[in-house]
């Protein structure tokens, strides 16, 4: 794959550079502000199990980009201790963008395309693919970075508060609820869902820390199924290494957690739904001029999903963004 080669070349190239000096030129063309892209989306098939695969947030960084997210789950096909596990792979490609509106508002939009597969114990495969649920979020910047300086001596705080809407552009098929415990093997929730989100960022020199939290209120869809409300939060730390004026490399580590209330069907609680998953995350973003390339991975550290009948495995993401 070409993209891997580019990443590799850029990686090797940067290693040979002097590195780790903060550029003093305030007019630097380099647009890297670290891994501060706001990321909020449901990475999973539907927002039944969701993802917060993001790096942190905090800056008024405007971009559009393309991202791939892969997630793997094991889910129990049956009600018994010796029932077989199904291997489920959720793949999402997202078109995402963040654009400012005036000084203090910005809009974040995500349009996902999903292609999911699962393999049953008898070897039978099921595939679903199509548009996922599109999300649009608006943010108000309560605290924002001084736009005139890239590097400030003092710690800088950013805080954004916002909310948004997730639209049922992804198909919800009640047939997919059958025969498996994992109700999240879907392209979308089929419902209009509403979000509240808060992002806090702290930067000092080339160190950074970000905390983001969001809550999704999910409504009942036209099949009278309602996915449980969802709370996500992530905490990330990162450090940016600058290489000349055009390159920057930002490794990051963090943790993230996802909590789900129980699903309801016909207004009645559905057994073996809800739960939580807690992830450790690591990743790196490479910036070249206005281009950002990133890879990240999440590994579950603790979880109890769907009464133990669904097990989240590793996730990974790769993205390319162009700052605008």
């Amino acid at each position: 794959m070409k993209i891997y080669n580019i990443v590799l070349i850029l990686f090797l190239g940067t290693l040979s550079l002097k590195g780790n000096e903060i550029p003093t030129d305030p007019c630097s063309k380099l647009n890297s502000k670290g891994l501060l892209l706001y990321d909020f989306c449901d990475t999973c098939g539907c927002s039944g199990n969701g993802g917060s695969m993001g790096f942190g947030t905090g800056l008024n960084n405007n971009f559009f980009g393309l991202r791939y997210i892969g997630q793997r789950y094991l889910s129990r096909d049956g009600i018994f201790a010796n029932s077989p596990w199904i291997d489920e792979n959720f793949n999402t490609v997202q078109l995402w963008t963040q654009v400012p509106i005036g000084q203090r508002f910005m809009v974040n939009a995500v349009l996902p395309y999903q292609f999911h597969t699962r393999t049953f114990a008898d070897g039978m495969e099921q595939n679903i693919n199509g548009l996922g649920d599109a999300t649009v979020l608006g943010f108000y910047q309560v605290l924002q970075q001084n736009p005139d300086s890239i590097v400030s001596i003092k710690p800088e705080h950013t805080l954004q508060l916002g909310g948004g809407i997730k639209m049922p552009t992804g198909k919800f098929d009640s047939e997919n609820l059958e025969g498996s415990v994992n109700p999240s093997f879907q392209l979308g929730t089929g419902s209009w869902d509403y979000l509240l989100a808060a992002n806090y960022g702290l930067k000092h020199r080339n160190w950074g820390l970000s905390f983001m939290v969001n809550y999704t209120f999910k409504s009942e869809n036209d099949k009278e199924y309602r996915f449980g409300n969802q709370l996500n939060y992530t905490l990330n730390t990162f450090k940016t290494y600058y290489f000349g004026t055009d390159f920057a490399l930002t490794p990051q580590v963090g943790v993230g957690s996802e909590h789900f209330e129980k699903n309801k069907e016909f207004g009645l609680e559905v057994n073996d739904t809800g739960g939580y998953a807690f992830f450790g995350k690591a990743g790196v973003e490479l910036n070249y001029k206005t281009l950002a390339l990133g890879v990240s991975s999440m590994l579950p550290l603790a979880q109890d999903l769907n009464n133990g009948k669904v097990e989240a495995k590793n996730r990974w993401a790769i993205y390319v963004n162009i700052n605008i």
Binding site: A81, S174, G179, Y194, E265, F266, G267
Partner: protein
């Protein structure tokens, strides 16, 4: 802040909107297990008495279904259609109740076996049940009566090294010993019935309980138990307590 307050107004859908009308069906799945594992004929399971059972047959009669709704109203299934034989061998493990009035049902009662009232109707009062029982090994003879439970296979234990046949045939002994028992199970959630909603009540029958329930029955001591005034009532109690509700699947009843 404006944005925030706008989105605080979240959705809250009113849940109890579903109007249930007409008559519908209720499906009851009897999913046989051995202490948490799926019961697979030919597989081996070791119980708390250190006997290892390999099961080749598990048939039982279930009958006299009653559904109780949220207001305590009881729907009793017509007695002359109310007897069903489930069989792991043939995969006949689903009971379908027809013409159930629409409602929100919260508990289920049924019998294991054939009650005396039915038996005392005589051979001509049995309808299809008699021939069905004969063809599924659920009848000794008309005089001796129905086998309510037919549980067979082989076993080994610390003192029985070679796989040895066991047969547990439990029933009433004519009209001299009544082993018919009923069980009532809370559904945990509501089963919604209407002309277009057919709930599937997914029961687990833990067959391990037959010998290893509140009464401990040792196959090493006696491997063939049929007409036994001492042991068959104990097995009847164990069998009547082997059922639990795993979940209720509301919907059109197409599949689980």
């Amino acid at each position: 802040m404006l944005t925030l307050s706008v989105f605080i107004i979240s959705c809250s859908s009113d849940d109890d909107a579903t109007e249930l009308t007409g008559n519908g069906m209720v499906k009851i799945e009897f999913d046989n297990s051995m202490a948490g594992d799926d019961l697979l004929l030919g597989s081996s399971y070791t119980n708390s008495q250190n006997e290892t059972l390999t099961i080749s047959r598990l048939n039982y009669i279930v009958s006299n279904f009653r559904l109780t709704d949220e207001d305590g109203t009881v729907f009793t299934y017509p007695k002359d259609q109310g007897y069903f034989i489930t069989s792991e061998e043939t995969g006949t493990t689903e009971v379908v109740l027809m013409d159930v009035p629409a409602g929100r049902y919260t508990s289920l009662t049924f019998g294991i076996g054939v009650d005396q009232e039915k038996y005392l109707q005589g051979a001509e009062g049995q309808g299809d049940l008699l021939t069905e029982a004969e063809s599924t090994n659920m009848m000794w003879s008309w005089q001796a009566g129905y086998k309510f439970l037919n549980f067979e296979g082989t076993f080994t234990s610390s003192t029985v090294a070679d796989a040895t046949d066991f047969k547990i045939h439990m029933g009433s002994h004519g009209s001299s010993l009544d082993n018919y028992k009923e069980t009532t199970l809370s559904l945990g959630t509501e089963a919604l019935v209407s002309e277009d909603m057919t709930p599937i009540i997914h029961l687990v029958a833990n067959a391990s309980n037959i010998l290893d329930g509140e009464n401990k029955i040792s196959l090493t001591e006696q491997a063939v138990i049929m007409v036994s005034e001492e042991k068959s009532p104990k097995i009847a109690v164990n069998a009547s307590n082997m059922f639990t509700v795993d979940h209720v699947h509301n919907g059109d009843g197409g599949s689980h």
